[in-house]
């Protein structure tokens, strides 16, 4: 967060911006359902924070190592829920567990996400000298309410969150009066629910949204494969992870004086020129050699002892790096250079062991050097922090992608936000903590960025619906980085990002504050979605609490009033409707501009929209036809309404399917 807000244009030093207009989100309450909080963290100091908002009905629950005075005017609520977890985890022994049987955070994940969204200013923080600056939240004055529903299982050495506990936490948060609910959680892929309402988070979110609460969820870390995005209900704001314009170049100098800049969070001493090896069979040996990072342990120790080891891996998760580092360290090696595709999950190797990541091209350069000399050597210097250009913005490899596997016509993810190498508060118990702060990566970190932005927007527009906030964020998002350069999406090969990578694009808070028009949605719109998704009348009536009868024939999912148009099965012609509400100057005239997807015709009627004191909502029709003669993939375009001040942009994603319900592998 020492870079996030400057990068997004919400710097505290800017003379006039959204931050100041709304007193940094002072009266807004953000709820977090996660692993709890470390209340003593500087990120939750309440210096300069006013009285607790009057509508707050929550509380500060005591428990192990947690008393009600741990809360304050910043951290205004803390509760924990574990009945479901206990019912399902017979082996759990709360006396022996390292986790705290209270809202106190053992792992640090909940503390991290809460400080990203709403942390107070904490100046002069860095991660052992890296990523230095002021740690702060998107809405530094917003209030924080913690609902701990995720627990550390010592036996598994992992965290689990039982859905019945999450639902109870949502139920309580709705009662307590939060304005924004932030969930950096995801169902395990492959998805269980074949419909949104069988997904537990979606159930609680439906009722929260119906009561005006904005629900922001992580999109999941199962990318870059397609159709891996989770938390896909249309009433949820689903977040993808992008990088910042910041990296940590780590100089690797070869004996031929060539210097390569790898990436690492290496803060140990310089490793002077040291023998360099790529473990491979010299040709006449009967022993096993392997230069694959996950299989370095197969090499004889003498191969790696006292040396820096080069290895290659197809893995992008950090596990491969840490496994390689531990194999080399166990053999007495002094460092490891990992050639891989980008994983965007830099993590320091334990005990400041030098582990540097590079790509295959640079790895091959080093391999060439190793094979070209009798005694190859290498020097590794500590990592540095590099800000701004020429660092480009990418969608992180791990960020889950669309299309939405439950309903492809509902564009997911909705928006992208920085979620890579984010420095924020953590629990001192965390083994990566450096002075109570840590650098983490994941859509877990991207979601609270959006929660913080929504908190500022909520303070500016307190009467807007959750759908209006989503629309404002989506239709004003950057399709490029803040400097106008294309955003690439990391994947099996790097490509220009599209709506299935980052939804409307990279969040642009200043523009979202005054979007001009919004694609608003209320109960009727969600009912339309449920009818189109095939829910029967009695279930929907139960759901919404009054008798509801779906129209016959049932409505088209394409008419759900989203700030996007996604047609996954265009054959001949499709007609759909969208309705926009004017939230800008009362007398406004908007004209349409269409950038159609390749080979697709998009006709919008009318071509201009006139708003005045009596006309605040206007609908328009869109007719889409294809000229393609084959089943294609998705092509992307845009539909923009402009009054020359606001450009209300929605993505148009169309896939032609001449042959429907058809799968091919040709």
């Amino acid at each position: 967060t020492t870079r996030t807000w400057d990068y997004l244009g919400l710097s505290a030093s800017n003379p006039k911006n959204l931050l100041d207009d709304v007193n940094m989100g002072d009266q807004v309450i953000i709820g977090f359902i996660d692993t709890g909080v470390w209340p003593e963290s500087e990120s939750f100091n309440d210096n300069g924070v006013g009285p607790i908002p009057s509508q707050w009905r929550g509380g500060c629950e005591s428990g192990e190592n947690f008393i009600s005075t741990n809360c304050n005017r910043k951290l205004i609520g803390a509760k924990y829920f574990m009945n479901g977890f206990l019912a399902e985890s017979q082996g759990f022994n709360s006396t022996d567990s390292r986790d705290y049987i209270s809202a106190r955070d053992y792992l640090g994940h909940g503390t991290h996400v809460a400080s990203i969204a709403g942390g107070s200013f904490v100046p002069n923080i860095s991660y052992k000298g890296l990523a230095g600056g002021t740690v702060r939240g998107g809405a530094p004055r917003a209030r924080i309410a913690i609902y701990k529903a995720c627990w550390y299982m010592d036996q598994l050495q992992d965290i689990t969150c039982s859905s019945s506990d999450i639902l109870k936490a949502m139920d309580e948060a709705i009662h307590d009066g939060v304005h924004v609910l932030s969930l950096s959680l995801g169902a395990q892929v492959p998805l269980y629910p074949e419909t949104d309402l069988r997904d537990r988070i979606s159930i609680g979110a439906f009722h929260a949204v119906a009561k005006g609460i904005v629900v922001v969820c992580a999109g999941g870390n199962a990318g870059p494969a397609a159709q891996t995005v989770v938390n896909t209900a249309p009433w949820i704001l689903t977040v993808a992870a992008t990088t910042l314009d910041r990296s940590f170049p780590t100089p690797v100098t070869l004996g031929n004086n060539k210097t390569i800049l790898g990436q690492a969070l290496y803060t140990g001493p310089e490793l002077g020129f040291t023998s360099l090896v790529y473990p491979e069979d010299p040709g006449n040996s009967i022993e096993t050699f392997s230069g694959v990072c996950e299989r370095l342990n197969l090499n004889p120790n003498r191969t790696m002892a006292g040396k820096v080891v080069l290895c290659f891996t197809t893995e992008t998760l950090h596990a491969a790096v840490s496994r390689a580092a531990s194999s080399v360290k166990a053999a007495g090696g002094l460092g490891v250079i990992i050639a891989r595709n980008p994983g965007y999950n830099l993590t320091p190797c334990r005990d400041d062991f030098p582990c540097v990541a590079i790509d295959y091209e640079l790895g091959t350069d080093i391999l060439l050097y190793i094979r070209s000399t009798r005694s190859p050597v290498v020097k590794i210097q500590p990592s540095r922090t590099l800000l701004g250009q020429p660092i480009g913005t990418k969608v992180a490899t791990f960020s889950s992608r669309g299309p939405n596997s439950i309903a492809p016509a509902i564009l997911k993810p909705d928006i992208g936000a920085p979620g890579v190498s984010i420095l924020a508060a953590t629990s001192p118990d965390s083994n990566q903590s450096s002075g109570g702060f840590d650098i983490l990566a994941g859509t877990s970190m991207a979601a609270p960025v959006i929660s913080g932005v929504v908190a500022l927007l909520k303070a500016l527009h307190p009467t807007w619906s959750p759908a209006a906030f989503r629309s404002a964020i989506v239709t004003t998002a950057w399709r490029t980085d803040p400097f106008g350069e294309q955003i690439f999406a990391e994947g099996s090969s790097r490509k220009v990002a599209d709506p299935f990578d980052y939804g409307g694009g990279l969040v642009n808070p200043e523009k979202a504050a005054e979007p001009g028009l919004v694609y608003d949605m209320g109960p009727q719109d969600y009912i339309l979605y449920l009818c189109s998704a095939g829910y029967n009348d009695s279930s929907i009536s139960q759901l919404v609490g009054n008798v509801t009868v779906c129209s016959n024939p049932k409505p088209s999912i394409l008419d759900v009033n989203l700030p996007s148009i996604t047609i996954p099965n265009l054959k001949d012609e499709v007609n759909l409707t969208r309705t926009v509400s004017n939230v800008g100057p009362v007398d406004s005239v908007y004209k349409v501009m269409v950038e159609p997807p390749l080979g697709v015709q998009v006709v919008v009627t009318p071509e201009s929209l006139v708003f005045n004191s009596t006309t605040k909502r206007v609908s328009y029709m869109v007719r889409v036809t294809t000229t393609h003669k084959i089943n294609t993939g998705f092509y992307f375009g845009s539909l923009i309404w402009t009054d020359s001040v606001h450009n209300v942009t929605i993505a148009v994603s169309v896939r032609t399917q001449i042959l429907q319900n058809y799968y091919d592998e040709n």
Binding site: D34, T35, F81, N83, G84, A87, E88, H109, C150, I159, T160, C161, S162, S163, S164, D165, I166, L167, K168, M170, D171, E172, A173, I174, H175, S184, L185, G186, A187, Q188, Y192, P193, L197, R198, R200, I201, I203, G204, F206, H207, A208, A210, K211, A218, G219, G220, N221, G442, T443, S444, A447, S539, S541, Q542, L543, V544, G545
Partner: protein
């Protein structure tokens, strides 16, 4: 004997403003299924009663199927685990 597992019985929007009343209705639904108030109390894990209506209870597969057929029940879904993202 069938093992019981936590299931979420989702009833949709609350039908009553008083949370106590809502919770009592959950207990009645459960005891009508399990046969006694004591069994219902032992089985109940949570009553959802603020933002929406429903409850979490330890049920066997057949009990889950039976309760799914009761009027007013939108879904009965087994508890599942979420992970940090």
């Amino acid at each position: 004997a069938e093992t019981s597992k936590v299931h979420i019985v989702y009833l949709g929007e609350k039908q009553h403003e008083d949370p106590e009343f809502v919770t009592e209705s959950h207990h009645q639904m459960l005891s009508s299924l399990l046969g006694s108030k004591e069994d219902a109390h032992d089985s109940m894990v949570y009553s959802y009663r603020q933002g929406f209506s429903g409850f979490a209870a330890k049920l066997t597969e057949s009990q889950a199927k039976n309760i799914a057929d009761l009027p007013g029940v939108v879904h009965v879904i087994p508890d599942s685990l979420y992970e940090l993202a």
